[in-house]
């Protein structure tokens, strides 16, 4: 048992093409979510949780985007970034 809590596919190498395709998909879906949240607030007046959800999503999106840009926790083209290799138990 080498890994815990990361998922069985964690650290499996992916190609550069998959990385860039995934990156575009990730950004597009999050922007879509952001827009949906905005429209929901705009259309349903006084959507009470808008501010909380917006702030949470912004914080989560930016943090994850930073990690993905650094390729943290993944192996792209057999190159694992520092800290991406799991600790052996």
């Amino acid at each position: 048992m080498g890994r815990c809590c990361d998922g069985r596919n964690a650290y499996q190498p992916i190609s550069e093409i998959r990385y860039y395709a995934g990156f575009i998909l990730f950004v597009l879906l999050h922007l879509n979510f952001k827009l949906t949240l905005f429209l929901r607030n705009y259309l349903i007046k006084r959507y009470p949780y808008y501010k909380i959800l917006k702030n949470f999503h912004n914080a989560y999106f930016l943090q994850t985007l930073k990690e993905i840009k650094k390729r943290q926790g993944m192996c792209v083209g057999n190159k694992c970034t520092p800290g991406a290799t799991p600790d052996e138990e």
């Binding site: 809590c5 990361d6 990385y19 949470f56 943090q63 993944m74």
Partner: protein, 238 residues
């Protein structure tokens, strides 16, 4: 006294591969299986897909299943949204959304079981999906402790069954399998948009989920306290 003829069980049910297999499994051992589907009002879509799946189950075994769709919106607001930013600062991970939602579902399940005198509770958690924070073996054992206090026996009937075995079982019984991408089946169960976004880096990049055990334990224990208060208040007020 509980006998085979009146033994009842509740099952958290989405209508996906795991919970459908679990329902079939439970139907062999229990007189009645209560299928419980929850939605939190924040990005849970196509909830009726689970009703379609429940109807398929009823065709196989009439009078064995009852299906309920239950809103946890109010509880989710209190347990998760009201503390969302604070929790995010503390745990620094999006798992607070998914695990918080699951804790709400378990809280409502306890209330459902107590109201209906049901001693057994199950869900479709699977070792194959243990990248999901709520399906880690640690989470499953901590959640079982939550039920123990209310004398409800919580278990995970298909935890060790492989995905391939489940697919074979459902195909054999001619269940709708939906649209297949890889070994995922789309369109047969409700969708959770925040959940999809949270697990996207794992699916797209094989990025480690980094669900640290101490943090998960702390989070569940913290929410358990809230759940206990909520359940007691709810039962007192009828």
């Amino acid at each position: 006294m509980v006998t085979m003829s009146n033994k009842q069980v509740s099952l958290m049910f989405s209508g996906g591969l795991d919970s459908t297999t679990a329902a079939l499994n439970l139907a062999k051992k229990y007189a009645k299986v209560h299928l419980l589907t929850y939605f939190n009002g924040h990005g849970h879509l196509y909830i009726n897909n689970s009703a379609k799946r429940a109807a398929e189950l009823e065709k196989i075994d009439k009078n064995k299943f009852t299906h309920s769709i239950i809103s946890i919106e109010g509880l989710f607001k209190q347990m998760v949204i009201d503390k969302l930013l604070q929790d995010y600062q503390e745990y620094n991970s999006g798992f607070i959304w998914c695990l918080g939602c699951k804790m709400c579902m378990h809280t409502e399940s306890i209330i459902y079981n107590l109201k209906n005198n049901i001693e057994f509770m199950a869900d479709g958690s699977s070792a194959d999906s243990d990248e999901m924070v709520e399906q880690m073996s640690l989470s499953v054992s901590l959640i079982a402790m939550l039920y123990e206090e209310y004398k409800i026996n919580y278990f995970v009937p298909v935890y060790k069954q492989t995905r391939e075995e489940k697919i074979m079982e459902l195909k054999k019984l001619r269940f709708r399998m939906g649209f297949q991408i890889g070994n995922r089946f789309l369109g047969v169960q409700p969708k959770c948009i925040p959940g999809e976004l949270y697990y996207m880096p794992y699916l797209c990049f094989n990025k480690a989920m980094e669900h640290e055990k101490p943090l998960v334990t702390k989070f569940i224990k913290e929410k358990k306290e809230f759940a206990d208060t909520y359940i007691k208040g709810h039962l007192q007020n009828g």
